[in-house]
Amino acid sequence: MATDTKVSVLGKNERKLITDPIDDNNPVTVQILGVCSALAVTSQVYPALIMAIGVTLVTAFSNLVTSMLRKSIPSSIRMIVQLLIVAALVQVVEMLLGAFAYSAYEMLSVFIGLIITNCIVMGRLEAYAMANKPWQSFLDGIGNGLGYGFILIIMAVIREISGKGSFMGWKVLPSWYIPNNLMVLPCASLFLIGVIIWVQRARNQKLVDVS
């Protein structure tokens, strides 16, 4: 977590803040954060996409707000203040979805509220935003949100195409393809994420778990 002292809008370090979490330091497959919702909302692409956007917004803005307040937050009630910020932002996202993306709001139901306990958000607040400048924290939030969304969408695409023969609700596979119902069942997402981790670690030896 290199913090640069230079103030630049989008320098090399800032770009790295965004790209790093997508692969090498992916929150889902490497840091194992935010797995819960990654598994539950990926049976179709559309809700997964909305969820990814929601989490990215919450991570980015909670990082921003926490970073701006980081010097004034009393350390003894740090957690409560962070939770308050996150909960308020999640509530805002929930209301926005209800107003502007109602069908996704219906599909995601309680999982929107559960963004609060998505460990990515709290994890980034503790690990990054409490010690870094607002702009960098904001980018770090976007990067982690994108890393999370990336995995979510890969899984959703595979599951929707193989499990339903469709993509974003449109039929893409010819009619002789019999949809594999196993892929839309919840446990398929666990197999899939296991395989994604396997592929990623086979490609990137430094991530291999030695224990």
Partner: protein, 259 residues
């Protein structure tokens, strides 16, 4: 910052700011969400029609009839029905308590009616006047595997015989790919089209969902792998439509159900 008092003040200020921001957004966004919910419901009702209700406007093409627990007409919306008349109905219905507050005819919902004992419930009927045909849509509600399921059943009165012209099912939390197929599978919903709700002897049979349909006139094939949901649909159809029978039989003009 180290003093206890400062911490309380800090928390108080933070909470105050968040509460203000949230309440402002809530006031702006909640009406939009309520409207979305209403639109989604109207669309879902019209989707029960054989052509999916394309080109129909709920507010113009649909008239609502409200039945009491015995299936008698309690309220009938007509082209010249005034707001005061429906307001009178709502005032009466809202007196039942349980936090149920109706303000529009489309608000009437079986999920809210379930809070009352059977003899206090009311049942909405949606009379659709499309370009070509007239349809009567009734609402049924039951239990799936995980949670509630409900459906809108469009019925046609063909020479005194009530037949299903289309259905639209919804569910709260059925398993995707299995139970959720009652909503997602067009083939399953299409199977209901043309089914009779009375057998040839005039006995009420509703539409049964069974593993191996023997009688094509009032049985449809269940979804494999989703037995509980299919049984739930079957139970919901037979019980749900039975509440409407006195009304349907009165309309079809034959008290014995149109042999």
């Amino acid at each position: 910052m180290q003093k206890g008092l400062n911490i309380y003040v800090y928390v108080l200020i933070m909470t105050g700011i968040t509460a203000l921001v949230l309440s402002f957004l809530y006031n702006v966004l909640d009406p939009i969400q309520a409207k979305n919910k209403e639109e989604a419901k109207k669309k879902s009702i019209l989707a029960a029609l054989p052509d999916g209700g394309t080109g129909l406007d709920f507010d113009k093409n649909v008239k609502v009839v409200v039945l009491d627990a015995k299936g008698k007409v309690k309220f009938e919306q007509k082209a010249d029905t005034k707001q005061e008349e429906s307001d009178k109905l709502f005032a009466e219905l809202n007196k039942r308590g349980q936090g149920v507050k109706y303000a529009k005819l489309v608000d009437i919902d079986l999920s809210l009616e379930e809070k009352f004992p059977l003899d206090q419930r009311i049942y909405p009927v949606y009379m659709v006047e499309g370009k070509s045909a007239k349809s009567t849509i009734v609402v049924v509600r039951g239990n799936g595997l995980w949670d509630k399921i409900w459906g809108y059943i469009s019925l046609d009165n063909k020479e005194g015989k009530w037949t299903v012209s289309g259905v639209n099912f919804e569910h709260k939390a059925e398993t995707p790919g299995l139970g959720a197929e009652i909503k997602d599978s067009k083939d399953f919903k299409d199977e209901f089209k043309g089914k009779q709700i009375y057998d040839n002897g005039g006995k009420y049979v509703s539409v049964a969902v069974v593993k191996a349909p023997k009688n094509k006139n009032w049985e449809v094939k269940s979804i494999s792998g989703a037995t509980v949901t299919s049984v739930g649909v079957s139970e919901m159809m037979i019980r749900g439509i039975s509440y409407y029978l006195p009304y349907l039989e009165k309309v079809s003009g034959k008290a014995d159900g149109g042999k």
